[in-house]
């Protein structure tokens, strides 16, 4: 086959390719190439007003100051950190700052102050006791000491949160539920807390667990229209009075029962609040929370405790180990003491 014989087919091939390519280039100019308009569906489907949270109509104003009642003399408040208490430094500082600023002394009870007779000895030197979410059990002698302390005019503030769940493990997937061991202590003082957090799906502060409660009666409720509790449990007292009560459409998580739950109760010398988050700096000035903080601390410093209460404890055995009689623990409180500011 001669090379010339390829010439004709090659011309046909090249000619067809050129015609097709020219046609492909020219076609868009003939038919038009305008891209179809894209509807802005994201904008159409978003109702700005309904998803705005910060400016929500019921948003609570963050204003006010913490004010404590005036007392003739300085009081000593013992804060329990000896029983694995779940109380972070931020909440602790809210209490300590307000008390110290008002001229009172704060003692932080360490573990060494909970051993043997040291616990009752610490109580004898205090005018009020604060216990927040203990995770270690109290011995019978300690419970008797706290009961005698309250009966002797010492003020006791109990704060209880729902069981907390923390994460851990190598990849952060492991979870661990931490519940408090306050049942024996609260029952010894005539108050109790129910399990399961409270929530409200209709009226809440940014989250369904951020419930509102109104003041009812008693020293804790003075001047309170509405407070915000971030993670609360219901509390009761047979002989006391309800200080704070939630709205009627509040529900308890574990049973889903709908009710107006009491979240703070007081007896003569005991105050029990089913939340500690109102002490967190982020929540202190929300709604009337600062009034609640002031009322709570005022309750602590306005008691009239008799001297030498509680009395010397009976010798006891802790975890089966014999304890020598007498002052076997430290004779002086070894915990941290925070003294009042110069006035």
């Amino acid at each position: 086959m001669q090379a010339g014989e390829f010439k004709r087919p090659l011309q046909v091939f090249v000619g067809i390719v050129i015609i097709v390519l020219i046609g492909a280039v020219a076609l868009p100019f003939v038919t038009g190439t305008a891209s179809p308009a894209a509807d802005n569906l994201a904008s159409q489907q978003t109702d700005q007003s309904s998803v705005r949270v910060a400016d929500y109509a019921n948003r609570s104003a963050e204003t006010g100051t913490i004010e404590l009642d005036q007392t003739p003399q300085s009081k000593t408040i013992l804060i329990d950190r000896a029983h694995g208490n779940q109380l972070d430094d931020e909440k602790l500082s809210t209490m300590v700052n307000a008390l110290v600023k008002a001229g009172h002394e704060v003692q932080i009870a360490s573990q060494s102050q909970a051993r043997g007779s040291a616990w009752n000895e610490s109580l004898r030197g205090a005018d009020a006791l604060v216990v927040v979410n203990p995770t270690k059990t109290y011995t019978q002698a300690q419970l008797a000491g706290v009961r005698e302390f309250a009966n002797g005019g010492g003020r006791v503030l109990l704060l209880a949160d729902p069981s907390s769940v923390s994460t851990g493990g190598i990849f952060g997937f492991a979870t661990r539920e931490q519940s408090t061991q306050s049942t024996a202590l609260t029952s010894a003082l005539g108050v109790s807390a129910q399990s399961g957090y409270l929530f409200n799906m209709n009226e809440y502060e940014n989250n369904f667990k951020g419930i509102y409660a109104s003041g009812v009666s008693g020293p804790l409720a003075d001047g309170i229209d509405r407070v915000v509790l971030r993670d609360a449990v219901s509390v009761q007292s047979a002989s006391g009075q309800t200080a704070l009560r939630t709205g009627e459409d509040t529900r308890r998580e574990s049973t889903r029962r709908q009710d107006a739950f009491s979240v703070a109760v007081t007896t003569r010398n005991v105050a029990f609040i089913g939340d500690s988050d109102f002490l967190a700096p982020q929540s202190v000035y929300t709604a009337d929370n600062e009034v609640l903080v002031g009322n709570t601390l005022s309750f602590l410093i306005t008691g009239k405790k008799r001297p030498n209460v509680p009395s010397e404890p009976e010798p006891e055995s802790e975890r089966g180990a014999p304890v020598p009689s007498g002052p076997s623990g430290p004779s002086t409180p070894s915990g941290e003491t925070i003294t009042p500011l110069p006035r």
Binding site: Q45, S50, V51, R52, F171, Q282
Partner: protein, 301 residues
């Protein structure tokens, strides 16, 4: 005489061989011809797009590309979403929702829930004209879950403001609440004709089994995938149709075990950097669907 008989035998052999070859060739060509004849009678195509596994950016990229191809294909007349996902991150879930909405504005879209159609996956299928579920399918979980804050940033890192990379817990609550409201709003918008439960109940973020999901209006019918495909064709006025299946690309990964709630749980870590996902076990009653550890569509509004 002998030569004639020899020639005749050769002819017969050739005929037989030709017949066998013809049968073989016909056997190969007949299905092609059948499909061609059938396709020539087809009025269009129902595209089946898979939405499976955690709703992530890369997964939604793939699904969005599939849906864009369907919208640009003149023969595609309807779409069926084959859903088996417990949800995922917020952003990809909203992107999926918008892509499905864009498609449903042009042609009928029917969702068919296989195992899970919860949280972000349910968000994504909301614009569908109809939702089919199996009796064992779990549907719902209308809400958002997310961490309360971020890991504290060390002082060695310089930031230009207190909220830079460090939102407060309250800011996170507000963000999650806003996202939840948007999710519930869109459920109300798209399912309001069918819903028999209140907005408050929706915000509880419960997951329902198929029959109950139909009762409360989260889904329209109990039915399997072929029923959903048939319904999509019906909505597109097609009696005869082709089916075009679009499966997601397979990704490689490795398996690892960790402890969850005092039990060993197997997770699969994809090699493309996505979040690890739990290895599925046989369906258990009240099994909680997987939710992304970051902000994801899952809880209440």
């Amino acid at each position: 005489m002998d030569r004639d008989s020899t020639t005749s035998a050769a002819v017969n052999t050739t005929v037989i061989i030709a017949a066998v070859v013809a049968v073989l060739v016909s056997a190969v060509l007949a299905p092609v011809a059948y499909d061609f004849a059938q396709s020539s009678q087809s009025e269009g195509t129902v595209s089946v797009v898979s939405v499976s596994g955690p709703i992530t950016d890369s997964r939604v990229d793939s699904i969005a590309e599939d849906l864009r191809e369907v919208r640009q294909n003149d023969s595609a007349k309807a779409v069926v979403l084959k859903v088996d996902s417990g949800g995922g991150a917020v952003g990809p879930s909203e992107r999926l929702y918008l892509e499905v909405l864009r498609t449903s504005n042009e042609m009928p879209v029917v969702a068919s829930v296989q195992g899970f159609g919860a949280s972000g996956a349910y968000y994504g299928m909301l614009p569908a004209n109809e939702i089919f579920v199996l009796s064992s399918a779990q549907v719902g979980s209308v809400g958002v879950i997310g961490s309360a804050g971020t890991v504290p940033i060390p002082d060695s890192i310089i930031r230009t403001g207190p909220d830079k990379a460090q939102p407060t817990t309250e800011q996170r609550r507000q963000q999650i609440e806003s996202l939840k409201r948007q999710f519930v709003n869109r459920v109300m918008d798209h399912r309001k004709q069918n819903l028999t439960i209140s907005r408050e109940r929706i915000a509880y973020a419960r997951t329902y089994l198929g029959p109950r999901a139909v009762e409360i209006g989260y889904a329209d019918s109990i039915g399997e995938l072929p029923a959903a495909i048939d319904r999509a064709a019906e909505l597109a006025d097609m009696e005869s149709y082709d089916i075009n299946r679009k499966e997601p690309p397979q990704t490689r990964g490795f398996i690892f075990a960790t402890e969850v709630n005092d039990r060993i749980q197997l997770y699969r870590q994809p090699m493309n950097g996505e979040q690890p996902v739990p290895v599925k076990r046989p369906l258990m009653i009240n099994q909680v669907p997987y939710h992304d550890p970051g902000v994801s569509h899952n809880a209440s509004r």
